[in-house]
C-alpha cells in the first residue's frame, strides 16, 4: 500500500491542488492598507489535506475493488451484516418491534421541534416512495415530480380557502388530482426515454410552478395562501403541540399505507411489468404488455402519492406559496431515491431520513449544504452506485450450487 508510486501520485495530486488554489487561498489583497498578504500556512494546509484525501480515496477504491473480486471468486461472506441482521428471524422481529415502539413514543421523548422536522422527513418518505414507483420500478426519469406535490398542496389550500373543505375530504381529492396530472404529463412523454424524458418533465415542473406564481387570481401568486386549516380530528380543538403530534401520527399512518401499497405493487403483475418495461421494451411488447397503459399507470400512481403528500404538507405548514415547489425540491426527492437505492423501500426511507434530517441537525453547515449534498452524491456514486440499501432486483444474486440441486425435485410448486 505504501509503495513509492502511491506516495508519488499523492504528492502530484497535492502539488496540483496547491497550484490550483494558490490564487484564492494564499494571496489576499488588502485594498485599504494597500498590501498583499501571503498566507503560506493555507498552502501547507491545502497540500497536506489533499495529500491525505487522495491517499484515503485510493485506499478505499482499492478496498472496493478487492471486495468485488472476493465476491466474484465466491469467497464473500454472504450479504453484509446489516442485511443479515435485518432478515435473520431471530433479529428481525425484535428489531421491528423496537423500531415500532420508538416510532410510537417519539413525540413523548423529544421536543415539538424534533417532532416537526420528523414529520417533514416523513412527508419526504412518502414523496420518495412515490417517485420510486416512477424511477425505481418503471425506470422513467422524472425531474418534475414536485409539480404533483404542488398540485396536491394547492388543491387543499384552494378548496379549503374557497369552500372550507376539510383535510380528510381533500386527501382523496388531492390523490385523484395528482393522478390526473400524472396522466396529463404522461401522454405527451410516452414516446420519450432517458434524457429527453428528463428534460420534458423538468419543463412540466417549472410550468406548474410558474403558473402558480403568475396566475394571481387563481393561486394568489407569490404571496401564497395562508391560514390553511390543520387536519381535523372529529372537531377536537388542539394546541399547537398536540396538532404537531397529531400530524406526526397521521404521517406515520400514511407512510405505513404507502409502504403497504408500494410493496404490493412491486410484487404484482403490473409492478413486474414496470420492471420489465425498464429492462426491455421490445420484449415487453412481444409479451403483449401495453406500453402506453403501463407507463401511464406508473406516472399516475407515482403522482398519486405526491398529491397526497402535498395535501398533508399544506395542512401541516398552514401556509404555502410557489417557492416551496422549486426544482430544488424535485432534485432533493430524486436524490432521496438515488441515495437510498432505486427500487428499494427501506432504502428510500433511510435516504429520506438522512437527506432531510441531516441538514436540520447540521444547521451550522447551512452555508455548505449544497456543497455537502454534491459531495455525498459523488461519493455515493463511486462507492455504492446501487444506493444505501440496494433493491433486491438491482443486483444479480448467484444462488449456491447446493441450493439448486435441493430444489430440483420440487417442480410442482
Amino acid at each position: 500500500m505504501l509503495s513509492f508510486a502511491e506516495i508519488r501520485r499523492s504528492v502530484l495530486v497535492s502539488a496540483w491542488f496547491m497550484f490550483l488554489t494558490f490564487p484564492v487561498m494564499v494571496i489576499r489583497v488588502n485594498p485599504i492598507e494597500e498590501v498583499v498578504e501571503w498566507r503560506w500556512r493555507n498552502l501547507i494546509m491545502v497540500g497536506a489535506g489533499s495529500f491525505l484525501i487522495s491517499f484515503v480515496w485510493r485506499y478505499l477504491i482499492a478496498r472496493k475493488e478487492r471486495g468485488k473480486k472476493a465476491a466474484e471468486a465466491g469467497r464473500a461472506g454472504g450479504p453484509p451484516l446489516a442485511r443479515r441482521a435485518a432478515v435473520h428471524a431471530g433479529f428481525h422481529k425484535p428489531l421491528m418491534g423496537a423500531l415500532a415502539v420508538f416510532v410510537l413514543i417519539f413525540p413523548f421523548l423529544f421536543s415539538t421541534y424534533q417532532v416537526n422536522i420528523m414529520a417533514t422527513a416523513l412527508i419526504y418518505v412518502m414523496l420518495g416512495l412515490g417517485l420510486n414507483i416512477v424511477i425505481g420500478l418503471a425506470g422513467l426519469l422524472d425531474l418534475g415530480y414536485v409539480a404533483f406535490y404542488a398540485v396536491g398542496a394547492y388543491a387543499y389550500a384552494l378548496l379549503n380557502h374557497h369552500f372550507g373543505l376539510g383535510f380528510w375530504a381533500v386527501l382523496p381529492i388531492g390523490a385523484v388530482m395528482g393522478a390526473t396530472f400524472g396522466i396529463l404529463l404522461g401522454f405527451p412523454v410516452l414516446r420519450l426515454r432517458g434524457d429527453y424524458l428528463a428534460i420534458v418533465t423538468l419543463g412540466f415542473g417549472e410550468i406548474i410552478r410558474l403558473v402558480l406564481e403568475n396566475w394571481n387570481d387563481f393561486s394568489f401568486g407569490p404571496s401564497g395562501i395562508a391560514n390553511i386549516d390543520r387536519p381535523g380530528f372529529f372537531g377536537v380543538e388542539m394546541s399547537l403541540e398536540a396538532a404537531t403530534n397529531y400530524v406526526y401520527y397521521l404521517l406515520i399512518g400514511l407512510v405505513l399505507m404507502t409502504i403497504f401499497f408500494v410493496n404490493r405493487l412491486q410484487n404484482s403483475r403490473i409492478g413486474r411489468a414496470w420492471i420489465a418495461l425498464r429492462e426491455d421494451e421490445i420484449a415487453c411488447q412481444a409479451m403483449g404488455i401495453d406500453k402506453t397503459k403501463t407507463k401511464l399507470t406508473a406516472f399516475a400512481l407515482g403522482a398519486t402519492w405526491a398529491g397526497m403528500a402535498g395535501v398533508v404538507f399544506a395542512a401541516k405548514t398552514t401556509f404555502i406559496n410557489p417557492a416551496s415547489f422549486t426544482f430544488l425540491e424535485s432534485a432533493i426527492i430524486l436524490s432521496i431515491v438515488v441515495l437510498g437505492g432505486m427500487g428499494s423501500i427501506p432504502g428510500v426511507i433511510v435516504g429520506a431520513l438522512v437527506l432531510i434530517l441531516l441538514p436540520e441537525y447540521l444547521r451550522a453547515f447551512s452555508d455548505y449544504r449544497m456543497l455537502l449534498f454534491g459531495a455525498i452524491l459523488v461519493i455515493m456514486m463511486v462507492f455504492r452506485p446501487e444506493g444505501l440499501i440496494a433493491g433486491a432486483r438491482r443486483v444479480y444474486e448467484f444462488k449456491g450450487k447446493k441450493e439448486t440441486s435441493d430444489t430440483a425435485d420440487g417442480i410442482h410448486t
Binding site: E279, Q285, G288
Partner: protein, 235 residues
C-alpha cells in the same frame, strides 16, 4: 393461418421490406432464411405489430391485424421469441415466465402450462428462483421460448434461436422446436441464419434478399437447390 400480402415496412425513410408476401398454413413449420440485413427480423416485427407495415395486409386466420397494437396481436395468439433472447435479466425465471402469461387470467391454465414447461425444460425448474441474467445462453434461449409459450400461442414466431449458442445446444433447441410443433400443433415461423438446420426441420421455406422474397419452395427442395446451397449452406 397467416398471410402477408405485399408488405412494405419502413424504418424512417429506409424501406426494409419491399412487397413481401408469405403464407403460413396451420400446423406447419415454416422458415425464412437470408443473410444479415435481409429483412427477416423486420418481417417478424411487422407481424407482431412492433414495426407495423406502411402498406400491405397481414391476415391472421382471415382477420386483418396490420393496424392492431402489439398487445392485441399477442392476445389473438401470436407470440414472438425476439432475436437475442431479450429475457428480463433482473427478474427471476418464474417472473419471466409470468410476464409471458401477462394477458392471461386463468390461474389453473397458467399453472398447468408452467408444469408442462418445467417438464420440457427441467433446468428451468431447477433455476426458477434465479435471476434471468444469471442463466447461460442456452438456458436463456429456453427461457425465452418458454416465456413465449406461456402466452399459449397458436403461432410462434422464432427469431434466430441458434444465435450465439454452441452446436450441441442449438441441436437441443431445434429438437424442442420440433417437439412443440408436433405435440401441441403450434404453428411455427422460424427465422434463421443457420439455413441447413432450419430447412431440415421445416416443411417449407422462403429465401429473403434485400427486403424481397426471392425463392419459395418445400424445405427439401431448397436444401438441394444449387443457389441456396452456394449462398446459405456453404457447400
Amino acid at each position: 393461418m397467416l398471410e402477408l400480402l405485399d408488405i412494405n415496412t419502413y424504418y424512417g425513410n429506409i424501406q426494409a421490406l419491399k412487397g413481401v408476401s408469405i403464407r403460413v398454413e396451420a400446423g406447419e413449420i415454416i422458415t425464412l432464411i437470408g443473410a444479415n440485413g435481409a429483412g427477416k427480423t423486420t418481417t417478424l416485427m411487422s407481424i407482431s405489430g412492433i414495426a407495423p407495415p406502411r402498406s400491405g395486409q397481414i391476415l391472421f386466420e382471415g382477420r386483418p391485424i396490420h393496424d392492431m397494437e402489439p398487445d392485441q396481436i399477442v392476445a389473438l395468439g401470436i407470440s414472438q421469441v425476439p432475436e437475442g433472447r431479450r429475457i428480463f435479466p433482473f427478474l427471476s425465471v418464474m417472473e419471466n415466465l409470468d410476464m409471458g402469461a401477462f394477458l392471461r387470467r386463468d390461474r389453473d391454465g397458467i399453472k398447468a402450462d408452467l408444469e408442462h414447461i418445467f417438464e420440457m425444460f427441467p433446468i428451468l425448474a431447477q433455476r426458477r428462483h434465479q435471476q434471468g441474467g444469471t442463466l447461460s445462453g442456452g438456458e436463456q434461449q429456453m427461457l425465452a421460448i418458454s416465456r413465449a409459450l406461456m402466452a399459449r400461442p397458436r403461432l410462434l414466431l422464432l427469431d434466430e434461436p441458434s444465435l450465439g449458442l454452441a452446436p450441441i445446444v442449438v441441436r437441443r433447441i431445434f429438437d424442442i422446436i420440433e417437439r412443440i410443433n408436433r405435440e401441441s400443433g403450434t404453428t411455427i415461423f422460424l427465422v434463421e441464419q443457420n439455413a441447413n438446420l432450419a430447412l431440415k426441420i421445416a416443411n417449407r421455406g422462403y429465401v429473403m434478399e434485400n427486403g424481397r422474397i426471392t425463392m419459395e419452395d418445400k424445405a427439401a427442395g431448397l436444401l438441394v437447390n444449387e443457389d441456396v446451397k452456394k449462398a446459405y449452406l456453404g457447400i
